[in-house]
């Protein structure tokens, strides 16, 4: 069935990964809820993971997939620590607002 476009180009996947990364970025910058900020980091991770899997698949090497696994592991570790930190911060000020933590202001 060569007459149908059965496969999608690598650049399509890269574009989707990039867009997802950018959306996560915007969310991270603009949302003020600590939990949501970390959710947005996961979104950015996911964009990167799409990238890696696409490269792994299209360039034809398992390293892309292996790397994906490590990224996912890292994301999990980050998530667990982040949740712990959020809990601690919440206990301090009884709010999830990131702007409540402004001790570093100049």
């Amino acid at each position: 069935m060569t007459s149908t476009l059965d496969q999608v180009g690598l650049q399509h996947y890269l574009a989707v990964g990039a867009i997802m990364f950018a959306i996560g970025l915007i969310g991270f910058i603009s949302r003020r809820n600590l939990i949501l900020m970390f959710l947005c980091t996961e979104l950015m991770f996911q964009g990167v993971v799409i990238n890696l899997v696409a490269f792994g698949g299209f360039v034809g090497f398992f390293a892309g997939l292996a790397f994906t696994i490590f990224v996912v592991v890292l994301a999990g570790a980050v998530a667990s620590l982040a949740v712990g930190l959020i809990v601690l911060l919440f206990r301090h000020k009884a709010t999830l607002d990131a702007d409540a933590w402004r001790e570093l202001r100049g």
Binding site: S3, T4, L5, D6, Q7, V8, Q11, H12, A15, V16, A18, I19, M20, F21, A22, I23, G24, L25, I26, G27, I29, S30, R31, R32, N33, I35, L36, L39, E42, L43, Q46, V49, V53, G57, F58, V59, G60, F61, F62, L65, A66, T68, I69, F70, V72, V73, A75, G76, V78, S80, L81, V83, G84, V87, H92, L96, D97, A98, D99, A100
Partner: protein, 313 residues
């Protein structure tokens, strides 16, 4: 179909599906849409309008990419191509909702949706193990944890949390900060990335843009992936496991720290200046003491007499 056929007849002279100015226009459109779509103290109609703009931008992008794919391969779209766009659309729309929905719980659920759609994309690339892992880890583990935290950290709702979906929410959920600058910077970065992907593709990419996912390896063979991992990345796998263990221990240690709030009455709650015309409560005074000796921190549910339950506060 006639539109598509007509599009395929257009000679696509350059290899580039997206010219620079097209990228700039699309990013600008999407940025404006995002500015309006982000949670804020606007009329809900604006947010719908912003979402519509985002949809339009995404649609134009999809149409352009499709036209380019059809023109350069000269073939009709197959089923997997359609699947790709469906999954991509769901994933991207879900991620937009993650950042635009005022309620954190809904954001988390949209994140699950995004994850599932992404898993679908992985399946299209014959990476079924990654798809499963993604759903398990993200949708199953991480998001559930977040949702738990969201539920636990129930906050007092703001008095004037806005209208519509954001009504009754605390201010920091109802209002995004830097709602104009953030989309501009984000879409600036995205524009650069897209420009890199489409206008300045790496040599390997332009050589074989239509190399298929199944050409190089049978990517989907989880067994082969496992063999690869344990043959070439054996230590790394162990290290990853160690990292997870350490993260778990660390998270427990962090979360077990007990805040001694004995003189909470002496610490005033001041109202800091805020750029959003609302008042942010900021606790002033000496920082609270942190009791982090693990042997003195009481643990709930133990029979050890030296350990007491958390005091209610």
């Amino acid at each position: 179909m006639s539109v598509l056929a007509a599009a395929s007849e257009v000679a696509w002279t350059a290899g580039s599906p997206l010219r620079g100015f097209v990228i700039v226009l699309l990013c600008a459109l999407a940025a404006i849409g995002t500015v309006w779509a982000l949670p804020g103290r606007r009329d809900p109609g604006w947010r719908v309008f912003g979402g519509t703009l985002l949809l339009v931008a995404g649609g134009i992008l999809a149409a352009l990419l499709t036209r380019w794919a059809l023109a350069s391969s000269g073939q009709k779209p197959g089923l997997s191509y359609v699947y790709f766009w469906v999954f991509a659309a769901v994933a991207l729309a879900g991620s937009v909702r993650v950042i635009t929905h005022p309620k954190p719980v809904y954001s988390a659920l949209y994140f699950v949706l995004t994850t599932v759609a992404t898993a679908g994309l992985f399946l299209l690339m014959w990476a079924e193990f990654m798809a499963a892992a993604l759903v398990l880890i993200y949708a199953g583990a991480i998001v559930v944890t977040y949702v738990f935290v969201i539920m636990l950290a129930a906050e007092a709702s703001g008095s004037d949390g806005g209208s519509g979906a954001s009504a009754g929410l605390p201010d920091h959920d109802a209002c995004a900060r830097a709602p104009r600058l953030a989309p501009i910077v984000g879409f600036l970065t995205l524009g650069l990335l897209l420009f890199l992907i489409f206008e300045r593709p790496p040599a390997a990419l332009s050589k074989n843009p239509w190399g298929t996912a199944s050409d190089g390896i049978a990517t989907g063979h989880t067994q082969q992936l496992g063999v690869f991992l344990f043959r070439y990345h054996f230590v790394n796998i162990q290290l990853a496991g160690l990292l997870l263990t350490l993260a778990m221990i660390g998270a427990i240690m962090i979360a077990r720290k007990r805040i001694v709030q004995s003189e909470s009455s002496s610490r005033q709650v001041a109202l800091a200046e805020s750029p959003y015309d609302v008042e942010i409560p900021v606790v002033l005074g000496p920082p609270p003491k942190i009791e982090d000796n693990p042997h003195t921190i009481p643990v709930v549910g133990t029979m050890n007499p030296r350990q007491k339950a958390y005091p209610e506060n």
